[in-house]
Symmetry: C2
DNA sequence: GGAGGCGTAGTACCCGGGTACTACGGTGGC
DNA sequence: GCCACCGTAGTACCCGGGTACTACGCCTCC
């Protein structure tokens, strides 16, 4: 028996999932959460095998909730669901420690088999995303011919979804600039800077600018001095 | 004529400095500031040759004020003064871009010659501090015998004044932990964590934890993964 | 046995950072 | 010509981080 917690802010969506899952005699829905905080709490309480996690939720989003659940060390697996915006959240979700990433317009059978897969410790990724992941990673796989480009790390997988401008901003974040400084020195409104920073964080799955700095160093976007 | 701005929160101290400086016919006191914010503002207004900067001031302290003044690119030099706590602030002050660092119990002549020195672009450091700086750096100077220790960077000059515990905390800051996480995982009260973090920032001269992360990477306290 | 350093802890306060939105002009692709 | 993406900008709101203090038990060193 696979126990599942549903985390989605849309009641109708939750209802659909519940109906689907309860139609299976090897699955049981332990509860429903309407936001990330609730998802985290209920997971700690109910210990489901799998959390079906929506990305976009008010308050604590699915990515961050995933991170927290994984951080507790519980054996609960998280399967992230999203409507679209694949590129946007894929890395974030997987970095957060999710066991899978599916799109909501998947066939019901795909979802069910996905749940069964992650419950047993496997991982699943939506085919459309798998493709993109492969394309991305392919450039970084060892080739037959020796590759002497010394880790052109600026196009690290974790950064691919960033626009040039965002990468620029991430660089100066990595140099320790505050939002105000970025605004002044780059001749931008502080609100614009915040918009950029917010998008960078969500795309990369970083919780805050501190982790963004770490990412910038890890990807060699900025180098230790 | 060397023009000077006095920044100190103690009226009596300011008075003493003013008297001393005005007794010299090659020096003029342009004004007095009682905190860092005022010091920054008055510097921008009056363009003194030298700011005599106290470290401990309410609100914006002397270190941060120094950083801001230096950041403006003005040709004003900052000479930092402190009562004691040399180790504590020395690095912070020098990293902030100060041209000098003197102790308040110095002889009046020392102070005067110090001011003249920094006004002409030289740098001065209190002898007691010089000693310590040398001791610190000496370990890092190239020796006659080849040194095969691969940059045991944990005792980087910028970190020497940190206690073991503080270094520990800095490490996890560098790993992106929030104060709450540090408190939980290290079994501490959050207030304790904040105390540690505050001391780390003031000792290292970092403005905030973001810069602390950068420092942690630069000193190889934490390594890119 | 005092002094000082260290690690711990607390309170009160303020501000910058981050989130959640909306919006709008430019540009490039279909 | 329209749609999607990008860069820009704004408002409103909340919270974590940082500062400024005080305090106390434990060591170590003189």
């Amino acid at each position: 028996m696979t126990t599942v917690l549903i985390a989605d802010d849309q009641p109708l969506q939750r209802f659909g999932f519940r109906m689907l899952l309860e139609s299976q005699d090897d699955m049981a829905v332990l509860g429903e959460a309407t936001n990330g905080t609730e998802a985290t709490r209920l997971t700690a309480e109910l210990h489901p095998d799998v959390v079906l996690m929506d990305v976009r939720m008010p308050g604590l989003d699915g990515i961050e909730a995933t991170r927290r659940i994984v951080a507790t060390g519980a054996r609960t697996r998280v399967l992230i669901l999203t409507t679209f915006d694949l590129d946007e959240y894929a890395y974030a979700g997987l970095r957060a420690g999710a066991s899978g990433f599916l799109v909501k317009d998947a066939q019901p059978e795909e979802l069910l088999s996905g749940i069964r897969a992650v419950a047993t410790g496997d991982a699943v990724v939506a085919p459309s995303l798998t493709r993109r992941l492969l394309d991305t990673y392919a450039q970084h796989l060892p080739t037959g011919t020796p590759d002497d480009t010394p880790a052109r790390a600026a196009d690290d997988p974790r950064l691919v979804s960033l626009t040039d401008r965002e990468r620029e901003i991430l660089t100066v974040i990595g140099q320790g600039w505050t939002n105000t400084e970025i605004a002044t020195r780059l001749h931008l409104a502080e609100s614009t800077v915040k918009t950029h920073v917010g998008r960078i964080l969500s795309k990369t799955g970083c919780r805050d600018r501190v982790q963004a700095v770490i990412l910038a160093y890890d990807t060699k976007l900025v180098e230790p001095s």
